[in-house]
């Protein structure tokens, strides 16, 4: 029993957190956000089956998410209007997953012959085709309005009506946990390992006797299954599916979540989904420039790290496991480096905010609220102030990054020294 808890401690903890969360965050806003996070965790993990584990960069994976969402909405409507037999709402995500799987098998077959750029282009082609079709096939997609649905159909066992958001919260988090566990187990199977091998060295995989096409195809189909499951949850959550769920924007969102969170380890996409959804629902009201910051964050991560934010955390794992006292020497350089980054960011963000304010205002008003202060964006003073923060901040970054990297390298060298006999 103790061994079981130790081995599966993470899952038990996740289950406990899932049960407790709605008691901590009781507002409707928080529950809505948690629901969204749950859906997007499944979707970004599914996306990472392709990108992180299979080495396939897709610009069109939202296709399976969105299509499954549309089918789920129509299915619910069909049950509600009595031209389809009753099917438990709780099990609808499986239906969505099967829809995703169906399309994933078909489209995957033609698009997984090659990975890399070719795969990315084909996925973009299919995504654009589907986006265009949403505006043509009006009966099924209903154009830009999308499909409305009602999740309260059929009998209500144990009083579960799926009316209140909290019922949907437990539905989503249950499926989120199940799907996450399933995808984690998949990474441990021979298939999961072969998928990694195809990512790293396809030529050698072919020599060993496997078909890279088959492995990619299987990975693609399974990933589409989970994307479809997430799409069904999305439809149940919002009771609406719009054409934007199918297109490049949704795929790009998953890509951002996965890459910012970190594609190289399993928790990265989860972290990314939580972080970006949280920031998105809180920051997009405060600043118009939120998407710009998101894009810049993404580019910075692409340029400087391959493992995303979780990669940055996990690269300290050997130090932690060997001797946490090694962190002592790293504290000061890290604090200086992070501090100067924050200073530089404050200055740059101030300027972006003022530009946005000046270009998007509708009146002649020039008084903007910046960092809880009222400033006159048309006068020179706030600009000079921002520049006066940015310039030393950037200069400090240039001075403090090398010692930061040095302290890390020294700590790793110390770890290696201790491991040597």
């Amino acid at each position: 029993m103790a061994g079981l808890v130790r081995r599966h401690g993470m899952w038990v903890a996740a289950f406990a957190v899932m049960l407790v969360l709605p008691w901590i965050f009781q507002t409707g806003f928080a529950i809505t956000m948690l629901n969204q996070i749950g859906v997007l965790i499944v979707f970004s993990l599914a996306y990472n089956m392709l990108l992180g584990q299979g080495g396939m960069l897709s610009f069109g994976h939202a296709l399976y998410f969105g299509i499954a969402g549309y089918f789920t909405a129509h299915f619910l409507n069909g049950v509600g209007e009595d031209w389809l037999p009753y099917f438990p709402v709780t099990l609808l995500p499986i239906f969505g997953g099967l829809i995703g799987l169906f399309f994933g098998i078909g489209i995957g077959f033609v698009s997984t012959r090659r990975a890399g750029t070719v795969f990315a282009m084909i996925s973009l082609g299919f995504a654009e085709m589907a986006t265009a079709l949403t505006l043509i096939l009006v009966v099924f997609f209903n154009g830009e309005e999308g499909i409305q649905t009602d999740r309260m159909v059929g009998p209500e066992p144990l009083g579960i009506t799926f009316g209140p958001d909290i019922h949907v919260y437990y539905l989503i988090s249950f499926w989120c946990l199940v799907a996450t566990a399933a995808m984690y187990v998949l990474t441990r199977t021979p298939f999961g390992r072969m998928s990694n091998a195809v990512r790293d060295n396809p030529e050698r995989v072919e020599f060993v006797g496997y078909s890279t096409h088959r492995i990619r195809w299987l990975a693609f189909a399974l990933s589409s299954f989970f994307a479809g499951l997430a799409g069904a949850l999305h439809a149940l959550n919002f009771e609406h599916v719009g054409f934007e769920t199918i297109g490049l924007e949704q795929s790009g969102l998953a890509l951002f979540m996965v890459w910012i969170g970190g594609a190289r380890n399993f928790v990265g996409p989860i972290l990314g989904a939580i972080l970006i959804t949280y920031l998105n629902s809180n920051l997009s009201d405060i600043t118009d420039a939120w998407y710009l910051y998101l894009g810049i964050l993404f580019m910075v991560i692409v340029m400087f790290t391959q493992g995303g934010l979780s990669g940055l955390v996990f690269m300290h794992e050997p130090i932690w496991k060997t001797d946490y006292r090694l962190f002592g020497r790293m504290m000061a350089p890290y604090a200086l480096g992070i501090g100067s980054t924050i200073i530089a960011a404050i200055g740059v963000i101030g300027m972006f905010e003022m530009i946005y304010f000046l270009s998007t205002r509708v009146t002649e008003e020039t008084i903007a609220v910046l960092y809880w202060m009222e400033v006159d964006a048309a006068s020179a003073l706030p600009w000079i102030a921002c520049a006066a923060i940015t310039a030393p901040g950037v200069a400090a970054c240039r001075r403090t990054y090398p010692p930061m990297a040095n302290s890390y390298n020294e700590a790793i060298a110390a770890v290696k020294g201790r491991m040597a006999p």
Binding site: L57, V118, G252, M303, F352
Partner: protein, 315 residues
Amino acid sequence: MEVLVFSIFNGLLYGMLLFMLASGLTLIFSLMGVLNFAHASFFMLGAYFAYQISGFIGFWPGLVFAPLIVGVIGAAVERYGLRPVHKFGHVAELLFTFGLAFVIEEVVQMIWGKVPVPYDIPETMNVAAFTWRGLDYSAYRLFMLGASVAIFLALFVFIAKTRTGLIIQAALTHPNIVSSLGHDVGKIFMWTFGFGCALAGVAGVIGGNVLGTEPSMAITLGPIVFVVIVIGGLGSLWGALIAALFIGIMDNLSISYDLSLYPVLALFGVEREVEGIMQDLVNLTTAGLAPVLPYLFLVLMLILRPRGLFGTRDV
């Protein structure tokens, strides 16, 4: 008859614009292996810069300066953004350009707002060049066609006849040997990237006022340019030209003729008045299908002939 002639003419025009984007993209791709997702964003920047410059000093200086600025920005992006990412491989490079496209769109919205800007056709060109069977043809469109054909010819002469062009051609196939001959391949990459972006910028300057200058113009045109270079065959300028013209003309013909697809369905015994999902199929017309067709060709091409029309290697 006149519908046919005019839609072919407009198709040629659209095709030449596509070619201006596609030629830069295919050069960059075959030289560096980078599929520049942000290529159409440089097209958009060209249009916005031209709008800004033409507000100050007129259209013609804009035609010269806007592409130059775009080219310099492109070269800077290659030197300071893309080159550090190169060591992480092609997927990271593609991700970088994807992020760049996203950021450029946001910056454009930040500076010029979310609604289209009034970038208009220059006054002197806003007249009918000729009238044929009661249909006017604007002088500006004629100028667009002339300019794009001139650029196309200049590009071919540059690639085939100048020393720089020959080095680029050599670097396309044998980068290591070109490098060991003493040429600075890094510099070739940087200027080819800048040059490709400048070409996209020219397309933006002369096309932005007809197609509409707005923040979404990059994302609507970008994927079609990918289709063009894949159908034409990666690295092949002739292929890009033919694919661009093909897509341009097909797009215009399917919109101006707007045929219903019902007669085809009728062969299978489908009734005109059906309910439900089949209604979508009965109501299909070629104009409705026009946005789908390029991608349909892309997928068919990748399945049937992955190297494209004139490509020498599989994509």
